[in-house]
Symmetry: C2
Amino acid sequence: MSQRMHKYTFPVSKARKYLEPGPVLLLSSQFEEQSDIMTLGWHTVLEFSPSLVGCMISSMNFSHELIRNSGQCVLNLPTAELIDKVVAIGNSHGDKLDKFDAFGLTAEPAHSVGAPLIAECFASFECQLYDDSMVDNYNLFIFEIVKAHVAEQPEFPTTLHYTGEGRFTIMGDKMLDKSKDFKPEMLI
Amino acid sequence: MSQRMHKYTFPVSKARKYLEPGPVLLLSSQFEEQSDIMTLGWHTVLEFSPSLVGCMISSMNFSHELIRNSGQCVLNLPTAELIDKVVAIGNSHGDKLDKFDAFGLTAEPAHSVGAPLIAECFASFECQLYDDSMVDNYNLFIFEIVKAHVAEQPEFPTTLHYTGEGRFTIMGDKMLDKSKDFKPEMLI
């Protein structure tokens, strides 16, 4: 059984620290009595403040429907030790399956949205739908991160990055600090 | 001086292999006699075929103007050994500076677009503007990758992933093959 991560409130305007490196995410959503979890690899930060993120959520995913109905979701950041759950979730469909039960994950109440946090993930970003004008054409949802929760240690978690065909690369624990080479105004 | 990478044609529908893991990119663009290079961390794959990618390119970048005028760019994938050039490019403005000259990079003619490839990068994806309807609101350009060039070795390059505040994490060379746990139809 995976460990629940104790998370602390983190500034939403700094969510890029964990999202911009491009990890696989577990997206949780809920509408009325139905919830879902899906894997998400196609996402990008779009703005610091409001804290915006664009997510491509295929209409084949049950989550797509739940988010269209609820206007909310949570982006959860799993570390590499959760890889088997990440793969299993990506291979299942949520309309008839409670994925929290099926994959041994713990739903925690969020602060600002109805969708649950995934307790075992390193970070969770509560999202409110901000702009759905690109959903019909591209399945691209633009969310505002309204509340962020991040575990304290390690500063740079070992994340999973999907390369297709069932293969993941793993973020190393090496960090290169080039801040002294940046113009001060670029250090955001 | 960095080495020029010999690159081979790669299927555009598989560009996600190199873009989905979330690396920092060097975006090159050209309009008439002016070219630019900028660093790009905010991008996401949007579709396999056509091969679509969404890129958030701030209007403060000279590249923004060049792309609006030309409708084209190249997304180049630098490896970690290019970090000092990546940082220097991110800290400079291209309207009065030839960044190829200034940072010792080689402009190579592309196959299908007017913007140049960066010879020293591991991969280059030639892009045609596909949808500019989100540019005014979000600086979000949707491009179609029309031609891809990728070096043969290594299969998984050591890429840079930006976390903000001048600090980069580095993709490890560890790859986890979970393809046997995937449903066959998910192995794209």
